[in-house]
């Protein structure tokens, strides 16, 4: 079993296999399952992601609170008819990331990656690359296994919970996972995947979890947009041969320590940050009334 990014890379080098393959084989071994069973389960997860993206960009979804819904669809339509500043691929990823998170906020069905609040980033990046790289279904599944391998390291060495480590632990982790997988899908090396992960997570360090009214909506939907775009930019940096001065494992450790020192008001308690702004407070009151929370 690999415990950190360094060990993961050592296995890929020693055996000359991609990161996704290391993850698949580890899953088979630890859980005593066949390759077919492992692949089939990931295939079902991929289908759920695909359906959530489709729903979010086509349907006018709306959350129970009314705070979010329709942004993914609006951006998706804007890309089709406008000459955008950021370019179609980046914005396609952003639209699909927001769409997924809006479906989540509407209590729709999603696949947590690694959490529900950050569930838009990985599918957003994956389905935008699908348009450009035209991967086979198997390659798309490999994207998810590679994402999972990096998420596995973060979850075991730091945290993937906003309540424990802030948004950096959720959207930050998701973005790092997506960046690493994007590199593999684009033909980069395992080392480049690790660099992309390190660069992405570095740029999301310190991000707090300050949801308005405690709901997984504001700013979560747009944080997923930031995570997806950050992932694609970092993947390109790594593919260009740019390296992170701080190795991935140390960035993950820094993320953990930052989370540990983050005040509780900024860790999913709806007591600080955006939740504590006048507008944040007003929205909370409109949704829940005067009941102290």
């Amino acid at each position: 079993m690999f415990h950190n990014v360094k060990e993961l890379l050592e296995i890929t080098e020693k055996r000359n296999i991609p990161i996704s393959e290391v993850m698949i084989e580890q899953e088979m071994e630890i859980h005593n399952r066949t390759r077919e069973e492992v692949i089939a389960q990931m295939d079902r997860n991929l289908t759920v992601m695909e359906q959530a993206v489709e729903r979010g960009i086509k349907e006018q979804v709306k959350s129970v609170s009314g705070l979010t819904g329709g942004a993914g669809k609006k951006l998706y339509e804007y890309i089709q008819t406008n000459d955008t500043l950021a370019g179609p691929l980046l914005l396609d990823a952003v639209a699909k990331a927001m769409a997924t998170n809006e479906v989540n906020a509407a209590m729709g069905t999603i696949c947590a990656t690694p959490t529900a609040g950050s569930a838009g980033v990985v599918p957003g990046v994956l389905f935008s690359l699908k348009e450009k790289l035209k991967p086979e279904r198997e390659d798309m599944l490999r994207f998810l296994f590679t994402s999972g391998a990096f998420g596995f390291v973060v979850a075991n060495n730091a945290s993937i919970s906003g309540a424990a480590g802030g948004c950096q632990a959720e959207v930050g982790s998701a973005a790092g996972m997506a960046a690493a997988a994007a590199v593999e899908m684009a033909g980069g090396t395992p080392k480049q995947s690790a660099e992309a992960m390190a660069i992405t997570l570095k740029n999301m360090l310190g991000l707090v979890c300050d949801p308005v009214a405690g709901l997984v909506e504001v700013p979560c939907v747009k944080r997923n947009a930031a995570g997806a775009s950050n992932a694609i930019v970092s993947a390109d940096l790594a593919l260009a041969g740019i390296e992170s001065r701080i190795p991935a494992d140390e960035v993950i450790d820094a993320m953990y320590r930052i989370g540990q020192t983050m005040p509780s008001a900024l860790r999913e308690t709806a007591e600080g940050g955006l939740a504590a702004t006048p507008t944040g407070r007003r929205l909370q009151k409109e949704i829940f009334g005067d009941k102290p929370r």
Binding site: H3, I30, N104, T113, P114, F152
Partner: protein
Amino acid sequence: MKFRSVFDIIGPVMVGPSSSHTAGAARIGLVARHLFQTEPERADIHLYGSFAKTYQGHGTDVALVGGILGFDTHDTRIPEAIKLAEERGIKVTFIEEEDEHDHPNTVKIRLGKGKEQMELMGISIGGGKVEVKELNGFKLRLSGNHPAILVVHNDRYGAIASVSALLAENEINIGHMEVSRKDKGKEALMVIEVDQNVDEELLAEIGTLASIEKVTKIHD
């Protein structure tokens, strides 16, 4: 290594909006339901910490009740679970507690049917993963690193041997085991951490052994 599977990271498939507050809550409810084995008439749900503060917006309430009704994290009936419980004649009560527990996402569920009663305390640790900390007043010390099965049984000779023999027969290795009892000859609990996955068929078989009351697994 708390997280052991790629599907802890890419997954679970779930109804939104929160993996810890919705999917985790549903899973704790579902563990309670599996242990209780039958549909309860009453469910008293005590919420602590972040669960107490944000349960309505996160659908923690409907998810817990959905789990108690036997729904998995991806069951699209979860948003309607409280209404469905009402229709099935289950009296559900939510209590927002002020006390702080070690973990911000803590819930205590008390299920009852006639004279039968069961109490479980669980926590949701992120990404939909959950841990059961207490069952009927028994403190559980699970590492969370391995799959675990819980066996509620009567404190009689041979009960422990029969369970471990059956596990051995199925080539399942026990990594850690604890046995506790309320009183000599009374209700007792085995907590068994194993190295391999225990499938539903084997769980059911354990349930048929002499002196065994209830059996469930905590996580894969």
